[in-house]
């Protein structure tokens, strides 16, 4: 039994506002392949009296927190936040999947969910001689866990550094002192650990006099922008920073890349934060590049299934991955490059390309990598 106090829960998440229209479930990318049904979950909680047992609802872990349900809800309910809330109740009772446990423990001990040692976090930049973040440095570059440790992610971070150096942007990093932002911890339902991390990080950034920062990952960008206590720091996703540099003619792209590119909107950049135009503006500035759109783009972008802690969880139906559906959609456009701007999307989409044996037709690349090629 995993009882929650359903009435208090419904009030906390404003579930009484729900009109049971099903817009959440109809648009959810997971509902066609798993039992997940946000609308019916809400009705069950509303009608459960004062106690609701979460035990049978293993599909709560299928949610990718892509926010489709939440952005479209006509009554401003957030089924996504309700699901995160239900996960919290489960995590609090300690009934968690071993993989989640490992990721959470690693975040607590090593400052990253990837079970990597804390003192190796800055290794990716060892040869780059980057400024350490300190008072007076204009921007704080928050690198993030995957771009710090994952070899594929590191390529993105290094590309970004190369671009920013050419544009003469004054920025610093924290290296081994950088800590996980806690985004995935929060989406996995570990509210307590997240709160601790957000306080700790905010203190650190304050003590370093951070006023402007940018991130590699949309997930980190989102958590700083929307989940951290308001602290007056201006946070941007790196594509926003680059779009500003391109527009202000501070970044001239002189090379050439004669490729057809289609852009996949990461959920945490697009649906969560309505950043649709900046990444496209950056791609459009690449000389020779031709942009084509997939049918599902911008607000309709199909989730790659990498969010909400799903990098560490199979979910109840490992069958066809959303990333594979997404790659097929990209192939239909005839594009040679599937561009994205999120380390999770990069990994899931690249794996899907391999799975579909499409390596020879489609290359998955981060926007930063593409720009770095034409500097």
């Amino acid at each position: 039994m995993l009882q929650i106090e359903s009435r208090a829960f419904a009030r906390e998440h404003d579930l009484f506002a729900c009109v049971q229209c099903g817009k959440c479930t109809g648009g959810c990318p997971m509902t066609l392949k798993t039992k997940l049904n946000p609308r019916s979950l809400i009705l069950r909680i509303l009608t459960a009296g004062n106690g609701f047992d979460l035990e049978p609802f293993e599909e709560l872990w299928d949610c990718t927190t892509c926010s489709t349900c939440t952005t479209r809800c006509p009554k401003n309910v957030s089924p996504m936040e309700a699901i995160i809330g239900m996960r919290s109740a489960i995590v609090e009772k300690g009934k968690i999947h071993p993989n989640v446990k490992t990721a959470l423990e690693s975040t607590f001990r090593q400052g990253n969910p990837l079970t990597m040692p804390r003192d190796q976090r800055g290794a990716w930049a060892a040869d780059l001689a980057l400024k350490p973040m300190a008072e007076g440095v204009e921007y704080f570059y928050y690198v993030g866990c995957t771009p710090s440790y994952d070899p594929r992610g590191q390529k993105v971070a290094r590309s970004l550094v190369k671009i920013l150096q050419k544009a003469g942007v004054d920025f610093g990093i924290l290296g081994n002192e950088e800590n996980c932002c806690g985004s995935e911890v929060r989406r996995l339902g570990e509210a307590g650990l997240f709160e601790m991390m957000s306080e700790e990080n905010t203190e650190t950034y304050k003590s370093l006099g951070v006023s402007k920062m940018f991130t590699t990952s949309p997930h980190c960008y989102n958590v700083y922008r929307n989940d951290y206590p308001k602290n007056g720091m201006q946070v941007q996703h790196y594509t926003q920073l680059l779009a500003g540099l391109v527009e202000g003619k501070k970044l001239e792209l002189t090379g050439k890349l004669e490729k057809t590119i289609t852009y996949h909107d990461p959920c945490y950049l697009g649906k969560h934060n309505s950043v649709f135009d900046e990444p496209r503006a950056v791609l459009a500035a690449i000389p020779g590049a031709k942009l084509v759109e997939m049918d599902r783009s911008r607000e309709k972008s199909l989730c790659c299934e990498g969010g909400g802690g799903r990098m560490w969880l199979e979910g109840t139906n490992p069958g066809t991955r959303l990333a594979q559906m997404r790659v097929k959609e990209a192939l239909e456009t005839g594009a040679e490059v599937l561009a994205t701007a999120c380390p999770f999307c990069l990994l899931t989409l690249e794996e899907a390309v391999k799975h579909l044996n499409a390596d020879d037709r489609l290359k998955v690349m981060d926007v930063a990598e593409l720009v770095a090629e034409v500097l």
């Binding site: 099903g22 817009k23 479930t25 109809g26 609308r39 809800c73 006509p74 607000e299």
Partner: protein, 581 residues
């Protein structure tokens, strides 16, 4: 002979609205001790007939010459009590109100401090009452004509009724054509009547009417004056017209919700996705076709841009359920091979004959599925509507070669401009706000300006016509009476003090102050003056007083408040308020 004020004070319980928070008895006992007070009473509802009779008896028996009621906001009941006292021979301006409900009982927690504040408000009102002066209520003559803004169904009907009653009407229409949106519709629900007949009949009568002056391709650009004597500036091409008018009816209509604001439906991207507005045009043109083909699988989506806080439209647009039903039945009738599905959240078939029509539409073979579709995506030549059938509890994907979005009504683009020109309020939904949701549904808070049709909120044709006729009747009251009462609480200039500097005139928005050419002092046009008091504060020599709000009266109120010295009282926690039934 010296004047001795004899004041009666009446403290209202307002049911429990005041009595639950304020110790009414203590307030009454306190009021009885105030200088000039002859009698103080309390009652459950002062505004009720027995409550008013209490006041009238005292005026007669105790020879009261000033009356104070401590109850609610004067906005609602000042006119009530002014009438009460004038019925027994007191001048209405010898009445004063203390608002111990909105300004006290509703906003503070129950307790001694709150009761003390109520006492303070009463003392202040009594202090003013002692100094009140009777004022003469005058009448102004009325320009016996009306001006209607908007030539849709509502505007045309309102203009016709007023003109038929014998008054001149100016009808101002922004486009070159009468009939508004209805002119572009195919048929009406639930009777399936061709709309061309409806619009044509009205438009012809308007065009032929000897007392209607029709100005098309014309816009209202300015409004001056007040009820009975407005002057409306109308621009028609190069021409600028000044139209004097007694009353104004606003019938500026709606505009359909822009379906592009729901990007998940791909309107403007997929040729297969159209709106109910597009469908009407297509049906008018004679053929239902998409990409040159007759559609075989048609899906209707209800509530597009309505009941949707994601786009800021919380309201129901009231017509779309029936519009979709009508169009679905037309598809079934003209293309019997086509499968027709309608996705709905709730079907609202509340009007006369609507439910019966909905029954017939279902029987014609239209499948109603409960669910608010989440998105439309492309699949091959067709599109796919993704939704949950909430009754089956299953996500579904329905292939379609035609999707019709039942778009709701939104305030017309010009609503904001008209609102600021005429100083009208708007409700939170953006439509014009009526003066009272139940009792004054066709009036605005501006005297002499009335609302008709969808500019006030979504409506179907019969409702628009009904409101138009109601607005016409209300707008004719001042025209038929021939005079309107003029506010007596106007400014007056002390000619001894006035230096004629004209600062007051430059601040007055009603143009009520002018320099006297001979005497060299300012004079007030009492008909134009609204008693706002701006001139009194602007006058550097303190020469202007507003009657009923004189410096003496206001200072007396302030002195009492100061002497009292009640410390700040905490505001009540937000909670459901007890409101009058």
């Amino acid at each position: 002979m010296a004047f001795f004020p004899r004041v009666g004070v009446y403290v209202c319980h307002c049911g429990i609205n005041i009595a639950a928070t304020v110790d009414v008895r203590a307030v009454r006992e306190y009021a009885a001790t105030l200088p000039g007070v002859v009698v103080a009473r309390e009652y459950t509802y002062m505004c009720s007939d027995p409550g008013q009779a209490l006041i009238q008896n005292d005026v007669r028996e105790l020879n009261l010459n000033r009356v104070v009621v401590a109850s609610c906001s004067p906005r609602m009941h000042e006119p009530t009590f002014r009438a009460t006292v004038s019925e027994v021979g007191l001048n209405p301006y010898c009445f004063e109100m203390a608002n111990i409900r909105e300004q006290c009982a509703w906003v503070h927690p129950a307790g001694d401090l709150t009761t003390q504040k109520a006492m303070q408000l009463v003392a202040s009102a009594v202090a003013k009452a002692r100094l009140l002066q009777p004022l003469e209520q005058r009448q102004a003559s009325v320009t016996p004509s009306a001006l209607v803004i908007g030539g849709g169904m509502a505007g045309m009907q309102a203009a016709l009724d007023i003109a038929d009653a014998g008054f001149e009407v100016t009808l101002v229409e922004r486009t070159g054509q009468l009939g508004g949106h209805v002119a572009h519709l195919h048929r009406t629900f639930p009777t399936l009547e061709p709309t061309a007949d409806l619009v044509g009949a009205l438009a012809q009568r308007v065009g032929d009417h000897p007392r209607i002056r029709l100005l098309t391709q014309a816009e209202v650009t300015g409004v001056g004056g007040f009820v009975g004597n407005f002057v409306v500036t109308v621009r028609q091409g190069e021409q600028q017209l000044e139209v004097p008018t007694g009353t104004i009816i606003v019938a500026t209509g709606f505009q359909p919700f822009d379906a592009r604001r729901k990007p998940e439906y791909g309107y403007g991207v997929y040729p297969q996705v159209i709106t109910t507005v597009d469908f009407e045009r297509m049906a008018n043109a004679g053929e239902i076709r998409v990409n040159g083909h007759e559609p075989r699988k048609v899906v209707f989506i209800h509530c597009v841009g309505s009941r949707d806080q994601a786009v800021g439209n919380a309201y129901c647009s009231r017509v779309c359920c029936m519009v979709a039903a009508k169009q679905a039945s037309l598809v079934r009738e003209r293309l019997p091979q086509a499968e027709v599905t309608a996705f709905y959240m709730d079907v609202r078939a509340f009007g006369k004959g609507f439910e019966e029509f909905y029954d017939r539409v279902r029987q014609s073979g239209v499948i109603y599925r409960r669910g608010n579709p989440s998105e439309i995506i492309r699949r091959g030549e067709n599109v796919v509507v993704r939704a949950e059938d909430t009754l089956l509890g299953q996500p579904v994907e329905i292939e379609a070669d035609l999707v019709v979005l039942a778009v709701g009504m939104t305030p017309n683009a010009g609503t904001e401009a008209i609102a600021s020109l005429l100083k009208l309020s708007r409700s939170s939904d953006g439509f014009f706000m009526e003066a009272h949701p139940k009792l004054r549904p066709v009036e605005t808070s501006m005297a002499g300006i009335f609302l008709a049709g969808t500019c006030q909120g979504p409506k179907d044709i019969p409702e628009s016509i009904a409101q138009a006729r109601a607005a016409a009747a209300a707008a004719m009251i001042p025209l038929m009476r021939g005079t309107v009462p003029v506010e007596a609480a106007t400014s007056s200039v002390d000619e001894e003090l006035c230096a004629g500097c004209g600062q007051c005139a430059s601040i007055c928005t009603f143009g009520a102050l002018n320099l006297h050419p001979v005497r060299g002092v300012m004079t007030v046009n009492a008909v134009l003056c609204q008693g706002c008091g701006a001139c009194a504060t602007a006058c550097p020599s303190g020469a202007i007083n507003v009657k009923h709000f004189t410096f003496d009266q206001v200072m007396a109120q302030i002195d009492v408040v100061e002497d009292f010295g009640v410390p700040p009282i905490p505001h009540r926690e937000a909670e459901a308020q007890v409101v009058e039934a």
